[in-house]
């Protein structure tokens, strides 16, 4: 499971940094390194581009896991360079950006857009397979999440726009419900698709969702 990010268009980053002339860059050694959006190489590349713009890069770091609370310690280690900057450009997913913002008063600017939680099919190929809906139905859909894999998020699929097992929105994309049908049929469990599925609960837990796991005494 990885947090899948994509680097923002450079023009957008440039615009966000417009009022800042001294930038500290923080990348992430976990997901963003795997997706090649915020690892060492990308951080160095960004440093070069910002210096070309005339910014002073006061320092940089690839935080091992930017979203982890250890980030507080990591940032204290380079306190001087961070203090010297007037903003922090974070090349990590939104969790890393948010984490950094907890420990610094200065503006924290995201260099990346967080897209989805991805399953790695093969190195470099990531796919969204979960919508974190809090009402997992994978047991009834042969492992295919209808909220993510079906563009309309249908619980009683397919829709009338599917063609040759492909989705009406993107002809390259498989129709989730055709796949679910085929799998359930092979398993002799078509009754699970045949039965009526009631409307889903969009408010299983209200956002922002949180949980406190306390250990049993």
């Amino acid at each position: 499971m990885k947090s899948i990010t994509k680097q923002k268009p450079f023009d957008e980053i440039k615009e966000q940094l417009d009022r800042f002339d001294r930038v500290y860059i923080a990348g992430c050694g976990t997901c963003a390194t795997m997706t090649r959006t915020g690892g060492r190489e990308e951080v160095m590349n960004m440093k070069g581009r910002l210096e070309e713009l005339g910014k002073l890069v006061t320092g940089w770091m690839v935080i091992p896991t930017a979203c982890d609370e250890m980030t507080e310690t990591a940032m204290r280690e380079d306190k001087g360079a961070i203090q010297n900057a007037n903003c922090i450009l974070v090349m990590a997913c939104a969790l890393g950006v948010h984490r950094a913002s907890l420990y610094i008063d200065k503006p924290v600017i995201p260099a990346l857009d967080t897209l989805f939680i991805g399953l790695e099919d093969s190195p470099g190929d990531f796919r969204e397979v979960c919508a974190q809906c809090g009402q997992c139905v994978l047991g009834e859909t042969a492992g295919i999440c209808p909220l993510t894999a079906c563009h309309k998020g249908l619980l009683n699929g397919p829709c009338g726009g599917t063609n040759n097992g492909k989705c009406e929105v993107d002809k390259e994309k498989d129709c989730a419900w055709t796949l679910i049908y085929q799998r359930l049929e092979a398993q002799g469990r078509l009754d699970l698709m045949r039965k009526y599925h009631a409307p889903r609960n969009s408010n299983v837990t209200l956002s922002p969702r949180m949980i406190k796991i306390t250990s049993q005494a």
Partner: protein, 309 residues
């Protein structure tokens, strides 16, 4: 007293419905003209609901106009744009204004339309919407609360007889029947043999099936629809037929093709009727009916029917 759409569906006569596409704006002149043209020729008249996810004057508005002008509207409701509160609310107002027929659709995807960044709602799907209607008819809303005044509708849905693969569609068709769909207006039918096979299966269910007839006006339009309109698959031989028509004659050829399809369906008693879709060309629907050998198919009186809808 004019018979209700439900009575017409159950009359054993060949039923003809058609549809009105509302305008993209407040200029409803053309829409009113189309309503006047068709309201007395067909058993009931659908008004589409942001067809192909293109923002338009709403179905409810068109249906109110049809009621005002003495026709029988079929309110089309998709689940793409509204959550369950808004959908139920629309059913309430529709009922109070005398609208008695609803077609329940999931809705085309947002990106195929002209507001590609809009949020697709899909809080309910078509099957759940059908059940919502039945629940509201029993005097309760989807939250389980009592309604101060219930509703009553002749509810229908759609099916795609030419879907490939067909089995998932049939499974969903059965769910729709069980969830209360009394009639189905199908997606465009072009392959009569395939449709006959579909009808052999569909005949075991009580719902009435109206075969979808989509007017083709040119080879270019047919190709465009194949590529862009979900649920429509025009076969190559029809595209060729249209392409080979003399200049200016493609529309007439399209009308003939539609008329012949309807005539064949009626002759073979393959289904309970047809739903004629002349998208953007509502004015030629009477010609299609004529080409099909259909006279005015709207019964004027209902044998033994009494009382208001």
């Amino acid at each position: 007293m004019a018979p209700s759409f439900r009575e017409i569906l159950n009359s054993g006569n060949f039923v003809v419905t058609s549809e009105i596409g509302p305008p993209k704006g407040t200029n409803i002149e053309k829409m009113l003209h189309h309503i006047d043209l068709l309201k007395d020729k067909v058993a009931a008249l659908n008004v589409t609901d942001h067809q192909s996810s293109v923002m338009r004057f709403p179905s409810l508005g068109g249906c109110l106009a049809i009621k005002e002008r003495g026709g029988d509207p079929i309110l089309q409701m998709t689940c793409r744009d509204r959550n369950r509160l808004a959908l139920q609310a629309e059913l309430l107002i529709a009922y109070t204004r005398g609208i008695r027929n609803v077609l329940c659709l999931t809705g085309d995807a947002v990106p195929v339309g002209d507001h590609k960044e809009a949020k697709g709602v899909f809080d309910l799907d078509s099957v759940q919407l059908l059940r919502a209607i039945r629940q509201m008819e029993s005097g309760k809303d989807l939250g389980g609360n009592d309604l101060d005044g219930a509703v009553e509708f002749c509810a229908g849905a759609i099916v795609t007889p030419e879907a490939r693969p067909i089995e998932p569609q049939l499974l969903k068709f059965e769910k729709k029947v069980e969830s209360g769909a009394e009639f189905f207006q199908t997606q465009a039918v072009y392959d009569l043999d395939n449709f006959a096979r579909f009808m052999q299966y569909a005949r075991q269910f009580p719902s009435k099936i109206l075969a979808g007839i989509v007017l083709l006006v040119s080879a270019r339009m047919a190709k465009y629809m194949n590529e862009n309109v979900p649920g429509i698959f025009v076969p190559q031989h029809l595209i060729d037929e249209l392409a080979s028509a003399p200049k200016g004659e493609a529309l007439n050829r399209g009308i003939e093709i539609a008329g012949q399809m309807i005539a064949a369906l009626k002759k073979e008693s393959l289904c309970d009727g047809v739903h004629i879709m002349a998208i953007g060309r509502e004015e030629v629907v009477p010609q299609i009916m004529e080409a099909a050998g259909l006279t005015n198919s709207k019964p004027q009186t209902s044998p033994g029917a009494e009382g208001a809808h």
